[in-house]
């Protein structure tokens, strides 16, 4: 560098000042720029300086191979010292001396592993995702608020705070979460906070109520009132009942046929409800529904049927496969309670698990508890609505939806006595002609937390039934087994006292004649204790046959339940290993019932070489959706293509505002009524027969798969084609675990599809060992070796032996460390 460079070596003092200011400005500008999240079109970059700093950024989230073994020595807010034992699977075992500290510790430790996830679910449940990602989430946020999830949670928390038990556990849990949050510096925040550049808020008990409402929506949010209303516009009544039967032939209900039911109330079973559709315009379905095909299995085997003479209980809830996993394992011990199981991060207590005396598990009970009422406002102001010949005032709540990098959106939601008017002139994605209000049991205040509190402490059957009496929504099939040898199952929830067909169609909201008249008494809910067959089971099927004295309808499963019952009836004695095998069973009952019939409809002479090969592959198939077979791929694709051609009147659902019959009713239809006018494809001038549709769809599927295989360079083995993956809650693919080599599918006991599956498989031998596994890992941190370490075992159908400590001083070789944490002064 020579002094001839005028820029670097000025003599003039003004120039020197300018030079200093320029460098200082560049430095400051760089700091500001690198400290800021930048959105370029759809892609957002984290604040790079902050994020890439090895001192505070993502590097601080990277964990060594032993994971995060650091625990605080003392925590402010504890009343007495607690002991935490951490086992090799990183499951904390909490030993507390009082209930406050027990739930405080649960909140603290759950947050330590899963804080981001629990808070993200709360943002989702309260319609606040736009705050994080901008206006692309506005429709989701408006929907969430308009179906009344925050409204329901507010009602719930007011009710919960009046109950000493619920209030204590909720507040202790929140204190624990906050003690953890308050211990954090920026560098300690979960990776996702750093990526999206925001910070955790204070945790409040209301959040746990929101989480329960979020689960209620996930599990009871799906119904077809709009679609059924529309279907009646062009289907006559017998056809409608053929396609959407309440009780199709051949069902295998939860409560064994022949079990007597009680009826302590006189149900009003006058004439069928007149659908509102006949004098109403056609409206497409208003918005996306919670996912279909969520489901679960559970069963219990009596001591007499158990190889060891000890009762066995199994549960595998099927949910969307996410990372961090939806479940978190925990042992909770304090005077009066010693329970082990899985918890939902954000909810106090153990949701599915066991203690020294009993075990319990849940599957979704799918009775319809969500109804829509047509509202007639007096005028466009929406201040009054017509009801029984009078006008009633509405209530309006203005929802403030904050939007990242955008203007706050204000949405006025009108409330009637039915509930929120979800869908009106201010909120329509289609050209809907009238407003509708939502009446839903999820809106009612209830105390489900107490059910889990009591189940965690239950000693016997009576305790179990008593615990269930606090449980209202979402309706669940609670399976039960005890060390003393009882087994039982009960579908518990607040179920509506209905007339036949009531709640299937949009109802008239201007009259009290269509109102709910009450609820089925809990004592009459479907249940059975120690049935003769020696086992109880459920898999989202009908709870009862038609002898149940109350009318109900819902969306039910027809295959998994029959397979489970067939297997459980097939042998005298079962071991825990047998039941693990059953949880991972890939038998495709639907294929075994329908495929041989489908193949008879195809003329092999009309097939090309490659089609012939597929045909013989299918003809030779053993009807198991095993991961390395190609036949399940061919069958699935063929069926899907055929289903689209057959039900062209109903599909695509979103466009037509209709729903097509489920698979079981479709199979019934093609076998019993193949010549019905609906079989013909309306999109073509020709008149197609069932055989034509099957041949067309068969050829289409073979061509499609051939092309798919060519373009992806992948084989057609079932697991490869299916591509099961665990998805991070944010769409960041490097955080996913993909292409899992696992069989199964919907309607199969191992209900693992591409995106859903057994989110927690548990097998408990009462008074013996317990086994469990879930896809994912205890840590929610993508930088931890324990983020998805259970996945390999889960894929292979293997289990961890769960470490259940009788007391604090019991030694167990699988305990990695023991830590006493004292209250901070």
């Amino acid at each position: 560098m020579q002094s001839s460079n005028h820029y670097f070596y000025p003599n003039h003092s003004r120039m020197k000042i300018f030079r200093f200011l320029l460098f200082a400005f560049i430095t400051l500008a760089l700091v500001v720029l690198l400290n800021k999240r930048i959105v370029i079109k759809e892609t957002a970059l984290p604040p790079l300086g902050k994020f890439l700093s090895p001192f505070t950024g993502f590097w601080q989230n990277a964990e060594p191979k032993e994971g995060n073994l650091h625990f605080a020595e003392n925590i402010s807010g504890l009343q007495e010292a607690i002991t935490v034992q951490l086992d090799e699977q990183r499951v904390p075992h909490i030993f507390a001396k009082n209930e406050h500290d027990l739930y405080f510790a649960q909140g603290y430790l759950t947050a330590r592993d899963r804080l981001w996830q629990m808070e993200f679910m709360i943002l989702g449940a309260s319609g606040r995702i736009s705050e994080l990602v901008g206006d692309k989430a506005l429709k989701y946020d408006r929907t969430t608020r308009r179906i009344g999830l925050p409204y329901a949670a507010k009602k719930a928390i007011e009710h919960l705070e009046t109950d000493t038990v619920a209030s204590t556990i909720l507040n202790s849990y929140a204190e624990g979460v906050n003690a953890y949050i308050n211990s954090l510096d920026y560098k300690d925040l979960s990776l996702e906070y750093k990526l999206l550049d925001y910070a955790p808020e204070e945790w409040i008990p209301y959040n746990s109520a929101l989480l329960l409402k979020y689960m209620s929506n996930m599990l009871t949010g799906r119904e077809y009132d709009f679609e059924y209303t529309n279907a009646l516009k062009f289907l006559d009544r017998p056809t409608f009942e053929l396609l959407f039967a309440d009780f199709p032939k051949g069902i295998d209900p939860i409560i064994p046929v022949g079990t007597p039911f009680t009826k302590s109330l006189a149900a009003d079973s006058s004439s069928k409800v007149q659908s509102f559709s006949t004098h109403q315009p056609f409206i497409p379905s208003p918005f996306e529904k919670p996912e279909a095909n969520l489901g679960s299995n559970n069963w219990a085997v009596s001591p007499a049927k158990s190889a060891t003479g000890k009762a066995l209980l199994c549960n595998d809830p099927h949910l969307a496969l996410h990372l961090p996993s939806i479940w978190y394992q925990l042992q909770m011990n304090a005077p009066g309670v010693n329970a082990y199981g899985v918890t939902i991060p954000g909810a106090p207590g153990i949701t599915i698990g066991f203690n020294e005396n009993i075990a319990w598990g849940v599957t979704n009970g799918s009775m319809d508890v969500k109804d829509w009422y047509r509202i007639e406002f007096k005028d466009a102001s929406q201040n009054e609505y017509r009801y029984d010949g009078k006008y009633l005032p509405t209530k309006k709540i203005v929802e403030e939806i904050k939007i990242r990098n955008g203007e706050t959106y204000y949405d006025t939601i009108v409330y009637t006595h039915h509930g929120p008017v979800t869908y009106d002139a201010q909120f329509k994605f289609y050209d809907n002609p009238y407003p509708v209000a939502l009446r839903w049991t999820a809106h009612d205040a209830s105390n489900e937390l107490k059910t889990f509190y009591l189940l965690n402490r239950a000693k016997n059957y009576d305790d179990y039934i008593n615990a269930l009496n606090y449980y209202e929504c979402p309706g669940q099939n609670f399976v039960f087994a005890s060390v003393s040898g009882d087994i039982a199952i009960k579908e518990q929830g607040k179920f509506i006292l209905r007339k036949p067909d009531e709640g299937k169609f949009i109802q008239d909201g201007t009259t009290s004649a269509t109102e709910w008249r009450g609820f089925i008494p809990f004592a009459d809910n479907p249940q059975v204790k120690n049935p003769e067959r020696g086992f109880v089971s459920s898999a989202n099927q009908h709870p009862t046959d038609t002898t149940y004295p109350y009318y109900y309808h819902g969306l039910y499963e027809y295959y998994r339940n029959r397979r489970i019952n067939n297997v459980l009836s097939s042998k005298e004695k079962f071991s825990a290993e047998d039941l693990m095998k059953l949880q991972n069973d890939n038998s495709n009952l639907m294929a075994s019932e329908v495929l041989p019939y489908l193949l008879t409809k195809i003329n092999p002479a009309s097939l090309s070489e490659i089609e012939k090969k597929t045909f013989s592959d299918l003809a030779a198939w053993n009807f198991y959706n095993e991961k390395d077979l190609t036949a399940p791929t061919y069958f699935t694709l063929w069926w899907d293509k055929f289903y689209e051609l057959l039900w062209d009147e109903f599909l695509p659902e979103e466009k037509k505002g209709l729903t097509a019959p489920d698979f079981y009713n479709t199979v019934n239809y093609i076998i019993t009524a193949p010549d019905n006018v609906l079989t013909d494809n309306q999109q073509t001038p020709e008149k197609e027969t069932l055989s034509d549709l099957l041949t067309q769809s068969f050829k289409q599927s073979v061509t499609y798969l051939d092309k798919w295989s060519d373009s992806t360079k992948l084989t057609l083995e079932w697991a490869t084609y299916k591509g099961t993956r665990l998805a991070h809650w944010l769409p960041i693919e490097p955080f996913y675990v993909k292409n899992l080599a696992i069989g199964g599918n919907y309607h199969i006991v191992n209900a693992t599809s591409k995106t859903h599956g057994g989110s927690w498989r548990m097998v408990v031998e009462l008074g013996g060992e317990a086994y469990g596994i879930y896809p994912g890992g205890q840590s929610g941190n993508p930088g931890s070796p324990f983020y998805s370490n259970f996945t390999d075992k889960w894929v292979k159908g293997e289990y961890n032996t769960l470490v259940f400590l009788k007391n604090e001083s019991e030694t167990n070789e699988n305990i990695l460390l023991t830590k006493t944490i004292t209250p901070a002064k």
Partner: protein, 114 residues
């Protein structure tokens, strides 16, 4: 010699500051060393760059070794920059550019009074 000393001082000062302060405190460190050690603007810039970048490179590399690249591979894939090594280099370069300009600012500040 002065150049190497300046790099070493920048590294030490920025390391110490970043233990307690946010990442941008590396700019403070480089600025101060830019004032303390008299050098041409160019060499101040370069020693600020290298001093701050080295600390990031070495620390990030150390963490990466310790954690078997488990997270850095995911972040590298997310940012579409190939490999953990590229990610380590990128971080150091960004820190270095800030450190370099901060050191040059310090040097330019000192020259106001010479």
């Amino acid at each position: 010699m002065k150049f190497l000393l300046s790099i070493a001082l920048t590294a030490i000062a920025s390391l110490l500051l970043q233990i307690v302060l946010p990442w941008w405190s590396l700019a403070l460190a480089a600025f101060l060393i830019g004032i303390i050690v008299s050098q041409s603007l160019f060499f101040s810039f370069l020693s600020g760059l290298l001093g701050t970048a080295l600390v990031w490179w070495v620390y990030a590399w150390f963490i990466d070794m310790n954690t078997a690249s488990l997270l850095s591979e995911k972040i590298a894939a997310m940012l579409q920059i190939g490999s953990p090594t590229a990610l380590i280099l990128l971080g150091g370069v960004l820190a270095g550019i800030v450190g370099g300009f901060a050191a040059a600012s310090g040097s330019a500040f000192k020259k106001l009074f010479s």
